[in-house]
Symmetry: C2
């Protein structure tokens, strides 16, 4: 441990794509934990589409990061000093922290990570902290897929999407992924066992979905919104469900973006569109972790980490989510 603490702070609200000057990156003193706090050394920082939401002041599901505040992120780290009974130096914790080498935490924001046999800390953090429970509850509780149904997921080569398709297969469903390159599509079908994959950058989505989903779409797990949502609504079956997990195509928009032009499909096909957040299922997180870990041990679930290096690269790395350059769960390894 040194005295140097590098901290990313929000300088201004992004307009459009995240520019370099939206955050500042400077060295500050390492803070001292007060009573009821412990100091955490950052090991892994999770980079997620929702980071872009927190930077903005759009209407959102929790307060945005205030200007001047350290940037918020899901973190995994090691306790180095503690003034909280039950937390000691060396404990590995995860929670909602900041983009900083060292950060103060409390038992309300961070909890000890429970070691899972055969699964590394990075995997456990990447899989269990957010994206695993998101895919699990979003698909099973919001999408309610039945065996034999067709599940389509966008952002399919992303962390949540790749899990959604595999869990759909485990439920006896046909799993179809939408992704942005041939390499991603091959990975989905050849490695992860998706029944089909559509490269939305290379194919006209309407025809491609028709071919990939000859029986129509029963569940469309939406990570992106926009034109892909429209194309999927067009192919939904009567009584279909649209769990809405993310709308990444809109996060960089500079004004209000129109909703789907075929919104009327909701009525004609009696669809259920439902937004959700993983925190809605916080009390049942253990159930998801248990199921995901068991599938991993049985070799039925693959999970790819995309680990980049260095806190100084946090902003550049975050942008990969918006250009589609990552495959799997994007993490930054810090120490």
């Amino acid at each position: 441990m040194t005295d140097a603490n590098r901290v990313w702070r929000l300088r201004k609200r992004p307009v459009g794509a995240i520019a370099d000057d939206v955050l500042s990156f400077a060295t500050e003193p390492v803070p001292e934990p007060g009573e009821g706090q412990f100091l955490v050394r950052l090991n892994y920082l999770s980079l997620d589409p929702t980071n872009r939401i927190w930077m903005s002041d759009m209407e959102q599901y929790m307060p945005p990061v205030a200007l001047g505040e350290a940037m918020r992120g899901a973190v995994c780290g090691t306790v180095v000093k503690s003034r909280v009974p039950g937390f000691s130096a060396g404990d590995v914790v995860s929670g909602l922290g900041t983009w900083a080498d060292y950060q103060l935490a409390t038992p309300a924001t961070h909890s000890k990570m429970i070691p899972v046999e055969g699964i590394s800390v990075a995997e456990a953090f990447g899989l269990f902290a957010i994206v695993g429970p998101t895919a699990y509850f979003g698909l099973l509780e919001v999408g309610t897929p039945k065996a034999g149904e067709t599940v389509v997921v966008s952002g399919a080569a992303g962390a949540v999407g790749s899990l959604v398709g595999q869990i759909a297969r485990l439920q006896g469903c046909r799993a179809v992924g939408i992704a942005g390159s041939q390499a991603k599509c091959r990975w989905l079908v050849e490695d992860l066992g998706f029944d089909a994959a559509v490269n939305y950058k290379a194919e006209a989505l309407g025809g491609a979905l028709k071919r990939a989903c000859p029986g129509g779409i029963d569940v469309y797990f939406d990570n992106v919104g926009g034109a892909i949502l429209e194309a999927c609504l067009e192919h939904m079956n009567l009584g279909g469900r649209v769990p809405t997990c993310g709308l990444i195509s809109q996060y960089n928009a500079t004004g209000a973006t129109p909703g789907p032009r075929n919104y009327g499909m909701l009525l004609m096909k009696r669809l259920t569109v439902r937004g959700f957040l993983v925190s809605d299922y916080a009390s049942r997180r253990g159930e998801a972790i248990g199921a995901l870990a068991e599938w991993m041990r049985q070799g039925k679930l693959q999970f790819r980490l995309d680990v980049r290096e260095g806190l100084e690269n946090a902003l550049t790395t975050l942008r990969l989510l918006f250009t589609g350059e990552n495959t799997g769960k994007l993490l930054l390894h810090v120490a």
Copy 2:
């Protein structure tokens, strides 16, 4: 009974508002019932927003009316000749028929109306055939309102909307109606017992909804879509529900209309938007009729018929739904 049978037939698909030449109106011979059919004399024709959908070839929930076919409508009539055991001259029936003085029917399309004590045939047809069960199941099953919650309904002075607000009150909810004139708003509050009403033609909807719904909106029963949907999404509470019953603001549109610009609210507020049709609850129709009739008898539910005269006025009368000139359930009295 005469030999003259006036029949409205679909000549062409409407573009925009329903023009005069979309339908033809001519006299034809009265048809003879074949084996398994009976002949019905039209007494009341129900005029509904969905008539506009059936005239078009937009993607819809049942086949559109084919060009040259008699226009489809919900009808109430009297059997004049029957070749079906169990149906006799004089029986009063209702079902999905046509805009014609005389029409052939079968037990699959028409059923005998069960007399309800203290309720006229016109009221029973207007209330129980479509709009009553639509309001009942749409609000209670799709909207799932809880006592103390705020329910907002658009098209509130229409047949379905006026029932939705009253049923919401009967569930212990705050009921707020959106309608297009001061007279309608007064009727909702003073006669039907709505807690508040907003005249969307006279007030800025955002501020008016904020005043009328100080605790936000828990259920928005959507009959109209468009700008009113957007304004309501803005004021929804976390976990709110949006039963989607109609999108009348879009039926006359000549191209695809954009969905709500604040579609992202579905995610941020974890809303459930669900389209439904009354036919989804066909097997439970008796339950709705029983509850509605009981509320009527107890004086807890008011239902206004807007009855116009003459089959020759069917097209002109249908247009009232799109200009907002009707109040309550629009019926045409024919014979």
